[in-house]
Amino acid sequence: MPWLSTLMGVSVLGALGVTLVRNDKLAKQFTLVVSLIVLALTVAMAVQFSPNGDKFQFAETHDWIPAFGVHYGVAVDGIALVLILLSVILVPIVVLASWHDAEAGKRSVRTYFSLLLVLEAMMIGVFAATDVFLFYVFFEAMLIPMYFMIGSYGGAQRSYAAVKFLLYSLFGGLLMLVAVIALYSIAGKGTFMFSDLVGTIQDVTTQKWLFLGFFIAFAIKAPLWPFHTWLPDAAAQAPAGAAVLLVGVLDKVGTYGMLRFCLELFPDAAKFFTPLVIALSVIGIVYGAIVAIGQTDMKRLIAYTSVSHFGFIALGVFAMTTSAGSGATLYMVNHGFSTGALFLIVGFLVYRRGSHFIADYGGVQKVAPILAGTFLVAGLSSLSLPGLSTFVSEFMVLTGTYQRYVVPAVIATVGVILAAIYILWMYQRTMNGPTAESVKSLPDLNAREKWVVAPLVALLLVFGFYPKPLLDVINPAVKDTLSSVSVTDPKPAVPVAQEGQ
């Protein structure tokens, strides 16, 4: 069964179906059903995935544009699989969370949900693509639904944020396009299949240039300091649901791309640039955290925390140890859940009060304890409290990095401390203290919202204590990747599976 195509096909057909439904409510329900079907299918697929089997499984390859050597090639390895899982899990949650989001403006509700499903298809595609060209196509095409979601349904500054988001990403994408073309030409294989291209570029100088082309695109996407400036705007202006997908999934494409393409296609260049990337990551970790502390706007604050977290992920990717690599991959998943939860809860808060400034809140804990409680859990997961899933990944990244680069690992640890400051301080300012006049009448989470938050919190807790299923899938893939970069861990790898327990 062509699993991956089916997943995308269901999403796209669902999107078309949504536009045909005349009734808004029906459309929402329909979207939810479709996204749940996709989730179910994905789970069914994931179950069949054998971690120690072939590197790429569920592979489908068809000629698409023979003239350019382009194939429709999809398949998943462990890394892609967990990221696809992340996406399809987040989508129904986001659908549920955005139940009333699209109604705020006088925009078409159906369009919003249709875009959401299109985006889902693209997200699956981008992670599953095994053809570099196809990857690029999804990479770019993904921007469009997100662009419309931010621009049409976002906050006051939405059009500015949407344009900034699109142009940054587009620019990065175009650089990547050049690199893709050059890769094709220089490799001279007449094909874009990833597996055929690995190892074809031997010349180190060429590798460096091509690496830069890909890397800048991914760094913008990720976003890595100093290419991050679009993220706070976009995330702050996007509707909560879109922000979750933006930060939780779309940005992962950047780090995923680094891991998949930058490392495997250009191993020598990757090694050459590692110090630079690590420096950028570390700066990003600290910078993001410090700036986050200074934010007065909750959404921007979360966006900056993400900048910091993406620093960790990139650090993990480029540390080039199994532990760090697996940690980074795991971090991508966990970050999706934790930041997603944060964005959603802040979204609920904002929906109630109509303001995303911290100063407008205070003492919410007393009027809305469940909201405050889940907010705390999500926040703690963001600062990597042991017992929550993010801790595992952050720890793996740090230990993995420490094996190879001591100083950066130490500096990065500062980020953990700063994270505690910004999260707890924000929590204190909004949830604790005397209840502000304006929040006195805030209702607590309703049933729908509880249904939104519950799975996320559950996942954070479950994977916090038992990340093994994920790591089992991830580890072989990461090892495989690193072996194709031909690095070996400096010393025998820590038995990572037990780390978090």
């Binding site: 544009i65 023979p66 350019f68 469009i144 621009g151 059009s159 142009l167 620019f171 175009l174 650089l175």
Partner: protein, 517 residues
């Protein structure tokens, strides 16, 4: 003087597509002369469409029958693979444009009447119409067909004029904003004539150099004739000026925004698609066939021109407030991208083929998209005509989501977003250029695309993310022709964006044999 003259032989069958179009144009003039007024449109429209379709069928038939390997008509016209492909493209685009042109409300009833005068009112009351538009368009299309197939510079010059002269007139026939339209006609005419004078003088100098205006002979003479390099260089440069003017390459782009803005929108669509295709075909032929041996000299110049064109087109477009001007600058920028393809000639036939086929594909893709975009421009109306100011387009996404969505889609195709035809067009060109080592050019092209994307995105922002004005423009219900145009263009943009392989194959086959010499 009294030597025997070999009576020339002309392969009428090979030239049939061109002859059909010209013949229909002449019949069109007869219709103008003899048919009663109320019948004219009813005769013209089927005549025009049928002749274009017939010419297309003939071109296809020829391509199927086998592409000739020798120039026709005593070496004057080369009906080779690229020429047939370009013919097909132009004919389809012209067909689509004619569907737009058939809405006669875009054209002035009486061009001779002074705007605002009693005569003009009279012509409105009488519902006068210039049905001459149809034969004029056919003449222009005939010129477009001949121009890229011209195998000697004289035929190229004549074709250039046959193509341009009707367009000069058509430009001045807009029903609304007459003053602007007339200005556009004057500007286009004066600058166009100026540039064709350059083309001609270049031809003269090359003739002086090579003793012939035949492209192949000029190319032969490049190596053989010594001591007259000055003639050669100046001639080639002037020829280049003339050709670059027609495609609107910087620094000869000044006419394009003015003309696109002033001309009736259906005519703009025809110019933006057909003329560009034809001019690029001719440019390719002249530079590759005629001056192929000189490529070390012209390539750096074209390098510069391409860069300038992309940058100027992309940057000046940002400052535009008129939708048609913006599209014109976008067309300039696209001309720059296409020039990359012209430069991307390599040493081997395979590389040339890939560059050529990429270019041909780009032309098809861009042509359809641009016709569609202009078709949409015709549908958004203010009381005084089309809603030209960008601010009037604000909030169109709410008022008319389908229309705005389609337009946004075309804009994304211009910007080269994947899954639209524009992406594969750009990709094909860039790929060929990279393969030929024109990497810096590609990088600049990419930067220019990013800049260009800004103003496309801006329009989308305006349409979708701004609130509509209270007295916003109305979106007219499109006539069947216009609806068909938009539909065809959107379909082409999607199909070429998702499954370009058949057209790529076609372009590749056409480019396989390269130009006959």
């Amino acid at each position: 003087m009294n030597g025997t003259i070999q009576a020339p032989s002309i392969e009428y069958a090979l030239l049939a597509p061109v002859l059909v179009v010209f013949g229909a144009a002449i019949v069109g003039v007869l219709v103008e002369a003899f048919a009663p007024r109320y019948l004219r449109s009813a005769i013209h429209l089927p005549l025009t469409l049928l002749s274009l379709a017939g010419a297309f069928a003939l071109a296809v038939w020829q391509a199927v029958k086998g592409v000739p390997t020798k120039p026709a008509a005593m070496g004057a016209v080369a009906v080779d693979g690229p020429a047939l492909f370009i013919w097909g493209t132009i004919l389809i685009l012209a067909f689509v444009s004619v569907l737009l042109i058939k809405d006669e409300e875009h054209f002035v009833g009486s061009a001779a009447a002074v705007p605002g005068s009693a005569e003009e009112e009279q012509s409105l009351v009488e519902r006068a119409a210039h049905t001459e538009v149809y034969p004029l368009v056919l003449f222009a299309v005939g010129g477009m067909l001949l121009f890229p197939a011209a195998n000697d510079l004289l035929v190229a010059f004549v074709a250039l004029e046959v193509m341009s002269l009707p367009l000069y007139l058509l430009c001045g026939l807009a029903r609304r904003r007459r003053l602007l339209s007339q200005e556009a006609a004057v500007k286009y005419f004066l600058l166009g004539a100026f540039s064709s004078a350059f083309f001609l003088y270049g031809t003269a100098l090359l003739y002086g150099f090579a003793g012939s205006v035949d492209l192949a002979k000029i190319n032969q003479a490049l190596g053989a004739v010594g001591g007259q390099d000055t003639l050669l260089y100046i001639g080639a440069a002037m020829l280049g000026v003339g050709l670059l003017f027609k495609i609107g390459a910087a620094p000869f782009q000044a006419w394009k925004p003015d003309v696109y803005q002033g001309a009736p929108t259906p005519i703009t669509a025809l110019m933006a698609s057909g003329t560009l295709v034809a001019a690029f075909g001719a440019l390719l032929r002249v530079f590759w066939v005629g001056l192929g041996g000189l490529d070390w000299d012209w390539r750096p110049v074209l390098y510069g021109v391409a860069i300038l064109t992309m940058v100027v087109g992309a940057i000046l477009a940002i400052t535009q407030t008129d939708i048609k001007r913006m599209l014109a600058y976008s067309s300039i920028a696209h001309g720059g991208f296409l020039l990359i393809g012209v430069i991307a000639t390599g040493q081997t036939q395979a590389e040339n083929t890939s560059a050529l086929s990429g270019l041909l594909f780009y032309l098809v893709a861009y042509g359809f998209t641009t016709v569609g975009a202009f078709a949409i421009v015709t549908m958004v109306r203010d009381p005084g005509g089309e809603a030209w100011h960008l601010s009037r387009w604000a909030g169109l996404g709410k008022r008319s989501p389908l229309l705005a969505g389609t337009f946004a889609f075309f804009l994304l195709a211009f910007a080269g977003i994947p899954l639209t035809s524009g992406f594969f067009g750009k990709y094909a060109i860039f790929q060929a250029a990279v393969a030929n080592g024109a990497m810096p050019l590609v990088i600049i092209g990419v930067v220019a695309s990013a800049i260009a994307a800004f103003f496309y995105v801006r329009v989308i922002v305006l349409m979708f993310f701004s609130d509509p004005a209270a007295d916003g423009p109305s979106v007219v219900l499109p006539s069947r022709g216009t609806a068909a145009v938009v539909g065809i263009a959107a379909l082409a943009t999607v199909v070429l964006g998702v499954y370009p392989q058949p057209v790529l194959d076609l372009a590749h086959t056409a480019a396989q044999s390269l130009f006959v010499r």
